[in-house]
């Protein structure tokens, strides 16, 4: 792991040196990492009042909170839908192809409609983050329900357990590892989606900042800061989910499918 990071850094720096020698504006193509780190911690004011660091923190707060809320809504929706689909064959058959389809609609197309429905930029950003994250949660949870060992299922039937009991006692606990697979996939996705939606319209948010920097409104280093920052946060969110999973599953190793992600 460490080795790979070192290798990547070395490669990056080599190319950055080449770029610095051949291009007039190396920071637009590939800046030295030292420059990027410098730009984060420099005291220079980017706009009237903030340094790059303060600006990124403020905008990241907005983006991440929207991503977080959207993520939670997405989880709830995905889980409920998966539950419904597993309860009713008709719903499953109807919903499955459309679940797929929603993923294929470019966000740029959805955004104006959702914007018109909600009438508020911030709310529509949350809604879109939710839409984009609930698919992995739903599909993985369904996979979990489907994978409940039939033997277990039949055992419960032979105990004359009610449907409610079957779900609460065997199926939901069993599908938790699967749910987490979905959660781990969708956590970085929620953040990416939130940033992507930011770029569609002005206001506050990492994506707004990113596109402004790309459009030359401020130094290009802000763009690079955000690229690295978002990658870092994305990975962090993945590990956060793994940690939560480990905490939850420590006292019930029952699932035991041993996903490594």
């Amino acid at each position: 792991m460490l080795l790979w990071i070192i290798l990547l850094i070395v490669l990056w720096e080599i190319f950055a040196s080449v770029v610095t020698q051949t291009k007039r504006t190396p920071e637009n193509v590939m800046p030295h990492l030292s420059g990027v780190i410098d730009s984060i911690f420099s005291d220079k004011r980017i706009n009237g009042s903030q340094t790059a660091f303060e600006m990124i923190i403020e905008n990241a707060g907005a983006t991440l909170s929207r991503a977080g809320i959207g993520y939670l809504i997405g989880i709830a929706l995905g889980f409920v839908l998966a539950l419904l689909m597993s309860l009713s064959g008709v719903i499953e058959k109807i919903a499955f192809p459309y679940l797929m389809l929603i993923q294929l609609i470019p966000i740029l197309g959805m955004a104006p409609i959702i914007n018109a429905i909600t009438g508020d930029i911030a709310v529509s950003r949350i809604v879109i983050a939710a839409i984009l994250t609930f698919y992995p949660v739903a599909t993985n949870t369904i996979a979990g329900f489907k994978a409940v060992e039939p033997a277990k299922h039949e055992l419960m039937y032979s105990y004359a357990a009610s449907k409610f009991q079957i779900y609460t006692k065997t199926m939901i606990p069993f599908c938790i590892p699967y749910l987490f697979t979905g959660l781990k996939i969708s956590a970085p996705m929620a953040i990416t989606a939130s940033i992507l939606v930011d770029t569609l319209q002005g206001g506050i948010g990492l994506g707004c900042l990113l596109s402004q920097s790309l459009k030359g409104a401020m130094t290009r280093y802000v763009f690079w800061d955000i690229v690295f920052f978002s990658a870092f946060i994305g990975i962090l969110s993945f590990y956060l989910m793994s940690v939560i999973e480990n905490l939850l599953c420590r006292y019930k190793r029952a699932g035991g499918s041993g996903k490594k992600g």
Binding site: G89, I94, F96, P97, Y98, L104, P106, V148, F223, S230
Partner: protein
């Protein structure tokens, strides 16, 4: 679960149902859409969400131009998907062969997925500036690279699982046959990974289409379904934008259907 002891007759019924129900639902939505009920439900107007007949009309009026854009996007998506999957698989093989360092590499590759594609696309387009002096060519390379990067992660992670999560005792069995590493690889690990390849593709096929569309937003040479969507939304031509959105969905559905067919053919042979 329900289909545990199903006869072939009910299985067939199941199959028909899983086609008929969604189609019926789709028809219902279409009716609601065309009659304007959907607009009332969504609190929007026929401007932001034009009626289906208008969208279809635009598609048929401009079919020549649309096909040009479609081919450009499909080419990018498929080339990128192929390259990305290939590289992803190679990484997975490397990770299986040298687990000490390889797994770290896997993590790095999946980290690429955490970089938003809107940030990735302009960066890659800048990096590929010197590839060719013809804008059309260098834009093509850039777009393909964007899709490559986005489809790499899912393949490498899934293929790695396919190569390592072997059926119980199969590994030991191979050892008792005194099979070499290469034989073990070809006879056991490679076939074992095939279903996982398809799992990966199920994620990366839709992903590659979206990747192609987004990369077109930023590319220098102006062509592609994604570019048309962006351009028409910006100049507020929603009917046309929707026509291209529908076309984009169609591309996704077609590619996914092809994948499903391929999967059915490949996996049946193995049973």
């Amino acid at each position: 679960m329900r289909g545990l002891k199903k006869g072939s007759l009910s299985q067939q019924r199941d199959k028909i149902e899983s086609i008929v129900y969604p189609v019926l639902f789709g028809v219902l939505i279409m009716i609601l859409w065309q009659t304007g009920v959907l607009h009332k439900m969504l609190n929007t107007d026929d401007y932001i969400l034009p009626y289906p007949d208008k969208i279809v009309g635009i598609i048929s009026d401009n079919s020549d131009m649309i096909m040009v854009n479609v081919w450009a996007s499909v080419e990018v998506a498929l080339c990128g998907l192929f390259l990305g999957s290939l590289i992803g698989y190679i990484i997975a093989i490397a990770a299986t062969s040298f687990p000490t360092y390889g797994t770290g590499g896997l993590t790095i590759v999946s980290a690429f997925n955490a970089v938003p594609i809107v940030a990735l696309a302009p960066v890659i387009i800048n990096w590929t500036k010197d590839v060719s002096s013809v804008a059309e060519e260098r834009s093509m390379v850039a777009k393909i690279l964007v899709v490559t990067v986005t489809s790499m992660a899912s393949m490498s992670v899934n293929a790695y699982r396919g190569l390592t999560e072997l059926p119980p005792f199969s590994d030991d069995l191979m050892k008792t046959y005194a099979a070499g590493r290469l034989t073990e690889f070809v006879k056991l690990r490679l076939p074992n990974s095939v279903p996982y390849i398809f799992t990966a593709l199920r994620v990366s096929v839709p992903g590659s289409v979206i990747g192609a569309l987004v990369s077109e937003y930023f590319a220098e040479y102006i062509v592609g379904v994604g570019r048309q969507i962006r351009e028409n939304i910006l100049i507020a031509q929603y009917a046309t934008a929707w026509a291209y959105i529908i076309v984009a969905c169609m591309i996704g559905i077609m590619l996914y259907a092809m994948l499903m067919i391929a999967e059915a053919v490949f996996l049946r042979k193995r049973r």
